[in-house]
C-alpha cells in the first residue's frame, strides 16, 4: 500500500491529537484534592465520566478504535496491534477451559477475531477451524495445560507465538516503524519472561520454549546470560536496552513503566511523519497511554494515594 493512501487518515488524526491530554493537563488532574475533583477537572477537558471511570475509559477506547477503522484505507494494516490481543484471548479461553472458569471481563479489546467465536471453537476443540496463526500454539498450550497443568509454560508458549507472529508480520508489512515496534515489544517481553524465570529458578529448557529471537539479542545469548540476576542485569547493560535492567533492578512495576515509555518514545519519533501508518499507530498507542494514565490517577485518587506516588507511576505522554 502506498504511503500517500494514508493522507486523509493522517490529517484527521492530526486534529484528534490536539484533543489528547498534555503532561501539564494531567498534572492539574493529579493535583485535584479528591476523586470527585479529578473527575470534574477531566470533564472540563472533555472527558465524560458519568458512567463510571472504567466504563467511560473503555468507551473512549472503543470510540478511538471505531474512528481508526472508519478512516483506515485497509484495516488489516492495524493487525500489528490486534493480533497480540487475540493471542491473549486464546490464553484466557484455554485457562477457562482447563480450569472450568469463566472468561467474563477477561477478553482484551480490540481483537482481529471475535473472542466468543474463538471460545466456541477452542471449547469444542476444533483446532483446525481456528485462524492459522493460532492453531499451532493452541495445540501446544492445550497439551501442556492438560497433561502437565504447568500454567506458566502454557502462557509462555502463547506469548512467544504472539511475538514471533508479530515479528513475522512486521517483516512482511515492509514498514520500518511496524518492524521496530515488533522487535522492541518482543525484546521487552523476553526480558520480562527471563526475569521471572530467574526468580522462579526455571531451567534453560523452559526458557528456550518461552522466549523468541529479536533484533536486540539472540534467544541463545539471552538464555546463556541469564543464569543469575546479576549476570542478567550485566548482560542487559551491554545492550541498547540498558535502562531495562536498571528498571527491573528497582521493581517489576518500574519495568512495566519503562516498557510502556520505551514504546511511546519509539512512536513519538515518528510524530513528524506526514504519510504512512506510523502516525495512526502513534495515536492508537497515545490514546491507550492516556487511558492508562487516567486509570492510574483516578484509582490513586479513589484510594487516597499521594500525588507523588501517582506521578511515579504515570507513563510518558505522546503529546
Amino acid at each position: 500500500m502506498k504511503d500517500s493512501e494514508y493522507t486523509y487518515a493522517v490529517a484527521r488524526i492530526r486534529v484528534h491529537e490536539t484533543k489528547l491530554l498534555t503532561e501539564s493537563e494531567l498534572n492539574t488532574v493529579i493535583a485535584a484534592k479528591s476523586h470527585e475533583e479529578a473527575v470534574r477537572r477531566l470533564r472540563e477537558k472533555g472527558y465524560d465520566l458519568t458512567d463510571g471511570d472504567a466504563e467511560a475509559l473503555d468507551k473512549k477506547l472503543r470510540e478511538t478504535w471505531e474512528l481508526l477503522q472508519s478512516i483506515l484505507p485497509d484495516e488489516r494494516q492495524m493487525d500489528a496491534v490486534l493480533i497480540k490481543n487475540d493471542f491473549h484471548n486464546l490464553k484466557v479461553i484455554l485457562k477457562a477451559l482447563v480450569n472450568e472458569k469463566s472468561t467474563d471481563g477477561l477478553f482484551r479489546f480490540p481483537s482481529k477475531y471475535d473472542p466468543e467465536e474463538l471460545k466456541a471453537l477452542v471449547f469444542a476443540r476444533q483446532n483446525d477451524k481456528l485462524p492459522p496463526e493460532l492453531q499451532h500454539c493452541d495445540r501446544s498450550a492445550y497439551n501442556i495445560l492438560t497433561k502437565t497443568r504447568f500454567a506458566q509454560l502454557g502462557d509462555s508458549v502463547i506469548d512467544r507465538a504472539a511475538m514471533e507472529w508479530s515479528i513475522d508480520y512486521a517483516k512482511k508489512a515492509d514498514d520500518p516503524m511496524i518492524e521496530k515496534l515488533a522487535q522492541l515489544q518482543a525484546a521487552l517481553t523476553d526480558i520480562k519472561v527471563i526475569y521471572r524465570c530467574i526468580l522462579t529458578g526455571k531451567a534453560d529448557s523452559f526458557k528456550k520454549r518461552a522466549v523468541c529471537d529479536c533484533s536486540y539479542f539472540s534467544k541463545q545469548t539471552l538464555i546463556d546470560a541469564a543464569q543469575t540476576l546479576n549476570d542478567f542485569f550485566a548482560f542487559l547493560a551491554s545492550t541498547p536496552l540498558q535502562n531495562a535492567g536498571r528498571a527491573l533492578e528497582e521493581s517489576p512495576a518500574v519495568f512495566e513503566k519503562y516498557a510502556d515509555d520505551a514504546v511511546t518514545e519509539l512512536l513519538t519519533a515518528g510524530k513528524s511523519e506526514i504519510f504512512g501508518i506510523t502516525p495512526l499507530l502513534g495515536y492508537w498507542f497515545a490514546v491507550n497511554t492516556e487511558i492508562l494514565n487516567l486509570r492510574i490517577i483516578l484509582s490513586g485518587k479513589a484510594t487516597g494515594q499521594s500525588d507523588e506516588i501517582i506521578r511515579e507511576r504515570m507513563r510518558k505522554t505522546y503529546v
Binding site: T7, R12, R14
Partner: protein
C-alpha cells in the same frame, strides 16, 4: 519531410509542456485535497486555510499551459502560418519546452508533499498556517525558474529562426 518532422517536434514539445505539469498538478492537488478533507471533516472552520495549501501545487499546470500556448504561438502553429523549419529547429523548440515539462511535473508532486505536511500544521496549530504556506510556496521557486527559462528559450529561438 523536414517541415513535417519539425511540426511533430513542436507539437510534441507543446504536449509535454502542457501534459506533464498538468499531471503533476492533478496528482498534487489530489494529495493535498485528501489531507485537507481529513482536517475539514473534523474541523470545518479550517477550510479557508487548507484551501490555500491545496491550490499551491495547481500552478504548475497553468505554467505548463502557458508554455504550450507560447510554443504554438511563437512557432506560428497557432495562426496556421508555419515557416519552413528544419527538423533540427523543431527539435530545438521541443527542447525549450522541457524545463517546464520536467520541473513542472516533479515540483508539483514535491510541493504537494510540503503542502500536505502544512495541512498537518494547520490541523494542530492553525495560527501557524502562514509558515505552512511559506514552506510549500518555496518549492514554487523552481517551477517559476523553469517557466522563465522555457519562455526565454522559446523567445530566443523564435527571434533567431525568423531572422
Amino acid at each position: 519531410m523536414g517541415n513535417s518532422l519539425a511540426i511533430f517536434f513542436i507539437v510534441f514539445g507543446a504536449v509535454l509542456a502542457a501534459g506533464l505539469p498538468g499531471m503533476g498538478s492533478a496528482r498534487g492537488t489530489s494529495l493535498v485535497g485528501q489531507a485537507a478533507a481529513g482536517v475539514v471533516s473534523e474541523d470545518p472552520s479550517k477550510f479557508g486555510k487548507v484551501l490555500i495549501l491545496q491550490v499551491l501545487p495547481a500552478t504548475q499546470g497553468l505554467y505548463g499551459l502557458l508554455i504550450a500556448i507560447l510554443t504554438l504561438s511563437f512557432t506560428g502553429l497557432m495562426g496556421g502560418q508555419i515557416p519552413p523549419y528544419t527538423w533540427q529547429q523543431g527539435l530545438a523548440f521541443m527542447a525549450a519546452d522541457l524545463p517546464m515539462a520536467v520541473v513542472g511535473y516533479f515540483s508539483a508532486l514535491h510541493q504537494a508533499k510540503a503542502a500536505a505536511a502544512g495541512v498537518g500544521i494547520v490541523a494542530k496549530k492553525p495560527n501557524e498556517s502562514g509558515k505552512a504556506i511559506t514552506f510549500a510556496a518555496l518549492v514554487e521557486t523552481y517551477a517559476i525558474l523553469a517557466l522563465l527559462i522555457s519562455v526565454l528559450c522559446l523567445n530566443g529561438l523564435a527571434s533567431t529562426f525568423r531572422a
